[in-house]
Amino acid sequence: MATTLRTTQDTESLVQPRARSDVDRLAVRAQDGDRQAFEALVRRLVRPALAAAWEFVPTREDAEDIVQDTFARTWRELARYDAARPFGPWFFTILRNVARNASRWDRRWTMISLTDEVIADEPRATNDETDALDRLDVDRIHAALAELSPMQRACFRLTGIEGFASAEAAAMLGISDATVRVHAHRAKRALRARLGAERGMEQP
C-alpha cells in the first residue's frame, strides 16, 4: 500500500514564512507582468488549488470552475500581493473567496469559520492510525467520510488522503495548522470507530 506522499513537491514552498520560495519568486516575476512566470505559477499551484476547491463544491467540474476563476482573479489582483509575505496563503485566500461566492456552500463556510480557533490542540495522529486507514478499501472510506463534519472531512482528506502537509492544508483552508491536525485527528478517530470493527482495528 502506498504511503509515500509526493504532493509536497507541488506545494513545498506554499507556507514558508521566511525564505522566499520558488512560488514566491514566480509570483514576484508575474507581478511585474511576466506571463511565463504566471503560467509556471499556475502549473505549480493547480493541483493544490483543485484539491482545496473540491472541498467546497460537490463535483470536480465545479472545483475546476473555482480554480479557473481563482487564477483569473489572482492575475488581476497581483499588484496587491505583498511580496514580503508567502504567496500561498494569499492565493488560497482568493480561492476561498471565490468558493464562498458559490452561494450554495455559504453555510459550509460559515461552519468552518465558526469552528476555527475554538478547538484546543490535541495529540497528533499516529502513523499507526494512518496505516490502518490505508488498509481500508476506498469505498468504505468515502462512505465513512460522508458522515464526518465538513471540516473534519476536509482536513482528513487533504492530509490523510491527498498527502498535503498540515501546514499546507491550513493555508488552503484558511485555518491554523493546529486546527487542521485536531480535525484530522478527530476524523481518524471517528473513522476508526465506524470502520475499525469490520477490519479488526483496535477501537479507541
Binding site: R6, E39, V42, R43, D69, T70, F71, A72, T74
Partner: protein
Amino acid sequence: MNSDRRPGSRLPDDDAYWQDLAARAVDAAFRRPGRAAEVPGRSPTPWWRGMSDAAFVLAASAALALIGGSLLLDDRSTRTATDAHALRGALVPEDDLLASLLNADEPPPAAALLRLVARREGER
C-alpha cells in the same frame, strides 16, 4: 504525475489532465479569445483608479482651470447675481459632460468641485 498516490485520492492521476486544467486557468486569466472563461461581477476599471492622488488632483485642477478660464473670459464687471444664476445653470451641461467623461461609478470629485465653484459664483 502521482505514481505513488494514496488510495482514495480523488485527484486525477493524469499529467494530461493537469496540463489541460492549467492551460484553461491561464486562458481564463489572460482571457484569450475562444477559450477564456468570463469572470462575472467584474466591472470595467475607471480610468482614474490607476492614478496617484497627486496625479488625480492635478488632472482635476486642470479640468477646473479650463472651465474657470472660460468663465474669466466673461466680463466679470457686468456680472450680476442674475448672471451668476444663469451661469450656474450654464455650467450644468458641462458638469454632466464631465461626469459622463469620468464614467463614474461613484461620484467624481471633480464634478463635486465644479458644483462648488458654480455655487460660489452664484453667491458673489
